[in-house]
């Protein structure tokens, strides 16, 4: 009680200097609480935005792929998933999986005609199954024309408004909804071509810096363009031949007299389109199930020739940007508090020096070292906790203010972080606990040396004030 009384009155007596220190501590605490809330809100919002626009909770892709999936691998697409149908069935049956969306990234040419002249337009695209894509990432809303896979199961392509503007600027034409075009795609055997229709245009609501350059094509047109096709069913005799090949030489020679194998009727084969999907985005029932689902996919991976990457690994540099931002905020906060701690230590040392006679007097009157040390710790704690409380109140008010309407960010930062728009802050208790802990820690660390100096002041210093 005596220590606290002395501490509080000493702070009041040196109010000017202590107000300066208190302001620094309050500012530092504000930065800790607001910064931690901002960083965690940005991390959460960034995760949500990446999951909802690029990757789902995880991406399943071919085990033959050498690179991780990325939203930007248009020039070096991943290998096709070998048996996409089986993989899709496997994923849909997994507990914890809410929805899946097979898709592929690629690039090609859109050939349009103007006044009898063919114009080749470069075209970067996602090939999607509209219904499953909408389940995972939400529907692509047309700004003109119609959407892919509408009520009539429309096939064709959707062009971004920005891309269309670029076509006009660079090639002098603008694609119009309903326009017939030819798609050209480079395949292993040459150039594939398929007739298609421009269904409509869209303007991305989020990640405009990415989706302005990405267009959408339905998966069927994509398979046609690249000739991803198989047959519905093989002739019965062919099936027997394949079975014999599996069984060994004797079985193969046993078919030697089979007349049905002497001439196969290939005219009866029915073509069936194969999926060209290179990735399957998976949304889970809850993010807590990621490990469980990843484990199940890894277990089945060898048979299905698939592997999985969690959203952050599959997000290209987006998750890294979010983490780098968090690291920067925490580093900046730590730096601010380091400076505050140094200034605080320095001020306390000056205080100790100025109060040498007072401390010596207390020691002469019978105060032991721990009393003197406790006095300075109490001063530091009282000042820092009061200042931290002010900083926290200010931070709390600011967080609440930006929780509803969101914190405006520079557009470039916002685009990379959350796909654009203001960042809604998500109030949480832990940044406040962190602020308190940091204030206490700084008090203890910054006071440790001055307390040692103060406690080592000899009682004979009482005589020094002559």
């Amino acid at each position: 009680m005596l220590t606290l009384k002395l501490a509080l009155r000493t702070l009041a007596r040196r109010s000017g200097r202590m107000a300066l220190i208190g302001s620094l501590v309050a500012l530092g605490t504000f930065v800790v609480v607001f910064g931690a809330t901002f960083a965690s809100s940005a991390a959460e919002a960034s995760r949500d935005a990446i999951v909802e626009h690029f990757t789902g909770d995880l991406i399943v892709y071919s085990s033959k792929a050498k690179d991780l999936p990325s939203p930007f691998a248009f020039n070096t697409p991943l290998p096709r998933i070998r048996d996409a149908e089986a993989v899709e069935a496997f994923l849909r049956a997994l507990p914890g999986v809410r929805a899946i969306a097979p898709y592929a990234q690629n690039y090609g040419i859109v050939q349009a005609e103007r006044e009898g002249r063919k114009v080749d337009l470069p075209f970067v695209f996602y090939a999607i199954e509209p219904a499953s894509y909408a389940e995972v990432f939400g529907p692509i809303r047309p700004s003109s024309g119609s959407a892919l896979g509408g009520s009539g199961g429309e096939r064709g392509l959707m062009i971004s408004e920005y891309q269309n503007g670029q076509y006009e600027e660079n090639y002098g034409l603008r694609l119009a909804p309903g326009e017939r075009v030819t798609l050209l795609g480079v395949t292993e055997g040459g150039v594939g071509a398929a007739a298609s229709t421009v269904l409509g245009t869209f303007a991305p609501e989020r990640y405009a810096s990415v989706f302005n350059y990405i267009n959408f094509l339905d998966a069927g047109s994509y398979a046609e363009l690249y000739s991803f096709a198989g047959v519905e069913a093989l002739p019965e005799a062919f099936e027997r031949g394949l079975a014999a090949a599996e069984a060994g030489e004797d079985a193969i020679f046993g078919l030697a007299g089979d007349a049905s194998l002497s001439s196969l009727d290939l005219g009866g084969l029915v073509a069936a389109p194969l999926s060209g999907a290179t990735m399957i985005a998976v949304r889970l029932e809850g993010r807590g199930r990621l490990r469980e689902v990843m484990g199940a996919i890894e277990g089945a991976g060898a048979g299905l020739e698939i592997k999985a990457a969690p959203w952050d690994a599959a997000s290209g540099f987006y998750a890294q940007i979010s983490r780098a931002l968090q690291a920067f905020i925490f580093a900046a906060t730590a730096l601010i508090f380091l400076v505050v701690a140094l200034i605080f230590t320095n001020t306390l040392i000056i205080n100790v020096t100025e109060r040498a006679a007072e401390i010596g007097t207390m020691r002469a009157l019978g105060a032991d070292r721990s009393f003197v040390g406790g006095l300075f710790v109490a001063e530091a704690l009282a000042l820092n906790l009061a200042s931290a409380a002010v900083g926290m109140l200010a931070a709390g008010a600011a967080i609440l203010a930006f929780a509803g309407r969101g914190l405006p960010l520079p557009e470039t930062v916002s685009q990379f972080l959350i796909g654009g728009g203001p960042l809604p802050l998500r109030p949480a208790a832990w940044p406040f606990a962190l602020g308190t802990a940091v204030a206490v820690l700084v008090s203890i660390l910054a006071t440790a040396y001055p307390v040692r100096v103060a406690a080592s002041i000899a009682p004979v210093k009482a005589m020094g004030d002559k």
């Binding site: 005596l2 002395l6 009155r9 000493t10 009041a12 007596r13 006679a357 007072e358 010596g360 007097t361 207390m362 020691r363 002469a364 009157l365 019978g366 105060a367 032991d368 070292r369 009393f371 000899a458 009682p459 004979v460 009482a462 005589m463 004030d465 002559k466």
Partner: protein, 234 residues
């Protein structure tokens, strides 16, 4: 048994590269209840001797015994406890704690000593407040008091815990002569009434005249130990 005994007490300081001998083998005995002045010019070693007797410093060699205990052998914790229980201090510059008022300054040693109930502390503080005539200034801070009033507070603070010895290092040096005389008179009155041993340093001849024994120091040596009352040497 003497309450204070110095046996060949020496004290050296280092001032940069220079070694300063503040006390050069002092032998001195002070009896319980004495009202003793240590006199000498500035730098003669008066304050150093008081520091040793007050257990706020230890001798470089020789012995200092306070109430029969050789203080040089005590560690910091024991010395602190010893000061708390045996010694009261009156400083030249009063050395009141600026953030505490008159009452609280006087109460301070009792709070450090512990073991006093609030009522008991109040009774002791009020007794000495009245003794030094400051009952009407209880809630004043040191900055609101005159020099004489501050020194009265310091006297009350030194006496409140009923110490064996009160040490006063030039207690009148920062006071005008009239106030200084009144302060010494007050100290002497308490010495007579309470039987508390008072040891004070001064180089003021008028103040010296109020002491019942004067020990003269020059260049760190006792020139004249005076005579303790009742020893037949006065």
């Amino acid at each position: 048994m003497p309450v204070v005994e110095l046996r060949k007490a020496r004290k050296e300081y280092r001032l940069g590269q220079t070694r300063v001998e503040a006390l050069r083998g002092v032998d001195l005995e002070i009896e319980r209840g004495e009202f003793l002045a240590v006199a000498g010019p500035s730098g003669s070693g008066k304050s150093t001797m008081l520091n040793l007797v007050g257990c706020i410093d230890v001798p470089s060699s020789g012995q200092v015994l306070v109430d029969g205990v050789e203080v040089g052998s005590l560690g910091d914790r024991e010395l602190t406890r010893y000061r708390r229980e045996k010694i009261g201090f009156i400083f030249q510059s009063f050395n009141l704690i600026p953030v505490l008022d008159v009452y609280e300054n006087i109460e301070f040693p009792l709070l450090l000593k512990k073991g006093f109930a609030k009522k008991e502390r109040e009774a002791l503080v009020m007794r000495f407040v009245e003794e030094v005539g400051l009952a009407d200034r209880l809630r004043n801070k040191p900055g609101e008091l005159s020099g004489g009033q501050r020194q009265r507070v310091a006297i009350a603070r030194a006496l409140v815990s009923k110490p064996l010895i009160v040490l006063a290092d030039e207690p009148t040096a920062n006071l005008d002569s009239e106030t200084g005389a009144r302060i010494v008179e007050l100290m002497r009155q308490i010495n007579e009434e309470e039987g508390t041993t008072f040891i004070f340093s001064t180089h003021d001849a008028h103040i010296m005249g109020k002491a019942r024994r004067v020990v003269r120091i020059l260049d760190g040596r006792v020139e004249d130990a005076g005579a303790a009352p009742g020893t037949g040497k006065e």
